[in-house]
Amino acid sequence: MTPVGLLIVSHSARLAEGVVEVAAQMAAGVPLVAAGGTDDGGVGTSFEKVMEGIVAADTGEGVVVLTDLGSAVMTAESVLEFLDDEQRAKVRIADAALVEGAVAAAVASKAGAGLEGVARAAEEAVHGAEAEEAPELTEPTESAVLTLTNPLGLHARPAAILAGRLSAFDTAVTVNGVDGQSVMALMALGAGQGEQLVVEASGPDAAQALAFVREQVEAGFGEH
């Protein structure tokens, strides 16, 4: 299955390209397309750039569109109004924070989430960073205490690896009390080298999920 593509629509060409640059760090291989600025390079949004961007970002599984301010949303919606029904069914405009949403969506796409899953990952990116959004694990079936050994700890790239892969498991998992399937929540922990991670999981894939986290943490996320 090819990954869902992302289109970043911003009033600024440089802002759109920058968001693509950050998201690409987390999710190599995911189609990421920037549609920023007007046709003549000014500040604004371009109907044509968005239209072409949707085509460019779609490798078959559809496209999630992330936008910055109001008229970028309206431009994206106008493009959808011009698409035929079949094309339109493969595009979602996410109501999401641009940077957080793009990173979370790229990670979810990389992990194999479908169109709806990627859009949801984008929309929940900011809320996911709040502790109260973590899944309720009244009786975790698997748990472990792991120590981070890699120099930078649980920074963005390892967080993306964990959240991305854990999203594909049928499990509810928390790391130090936050949602282990949310890249933003894991990054927000700010866990450094030598710190302990309490990992708890339940659900059909709980054992596999825990084994994956253990393997990654013990391997230092390949950063030794």
Binding site: G44, F47, G70, S71, M74
Partner: protein
């Protein structure tokens, strides 16, 4: 009685471009007070693109002319007015597809569809200090106004009154809403440009050859 046909529709667009260019600075000043100051410039760029397109091809129906305008405005305006006006013209085009010339009820249907497009795209209501405050009274005035030209004329009058009535309002949508109470005391630039465009429709129907 002038026919509201494809020739009229092209004249309407050209007259709109002329009026927008004439009031470019005024629209910039209005937008500078409560927005980001680019409404006049953006609208002028969009309508100049429409005129350039009309110099290349002649629409064979009212619907084709409106669709041409929708495409150019969406592509060239750059700011919020692009998708808002673009959607209005696109929905208006659909509403009059197949008609060779518009009667009063077709004018009302065209303006109502345009208004509905703006509402759908911008999520604004009457009283939010937006284009809707010109378009809603215009669409309502066009109902039961008589023949096509009478409907356009009633719509233009209502749009002008609606635009003037935005002055005391506090903006609840768009950039102006960031200003809160400080947005009161200024006309909404989108409502003003809408009124100019609807007046241009009357001028295109009632004046002699403007070419």
């Amino acid at each position: 009685m002038p026919e509201l046909d494809a020739v009229w529709a092209e004249r309407w667009l050209r007259e709109s471009a002329r009026v927008i260019a004439e009031h470019r600075e005024e629209l910039i000043d209005l937008d500078r007070a409560i927005g980001d100051g680019d409404h006049g410039e953006n609208m002028d760029r969009g309508f100049r693109a429409i005129v350039a397109k009309l110099d290349e091809e002649t629409p064979d129906s009212v619907a084709a002319a409106l669709k041409l305008a929708a495409m150019m405005l969406m592509s060239k305006v750059g700011g919020a007015a692009g998708p808002l006006y673009g959607t209005a013209y696109l929905r208006a085009s659909t509403a009059v597809s197949g008609a060779d010339a518009l009667d009063g009820s077709a004018v009302a249907a065209m303006l109502t569809a345009g208004r509905d497009g703006i509402v759908a795209r911008g999520k604004a209501e009457s009283g939010d200090k937006t284009m809707v405050d010109a378009w809603t009274p215009a669409a309502e005035a066009a109902q039961d106004a008589g023949d096509g030209v009478a409907a356009l004329s009633a719509a233009a009058d209502a749009a002008e009154a609606g635009a003037q009535a935005t002055k005391p309002l506090v903006a609840r949508k768009g950039r102006a809403s960031y200003l809160g109470e400080r947005s009161a005391g200024h006309l909404d630039p989108g409502a003003v440009s809408s009124a100019y465009i609807l007046r241009a429709a009357v001028t295109a129907a009632t004046s002699g050859d403007m070419a």
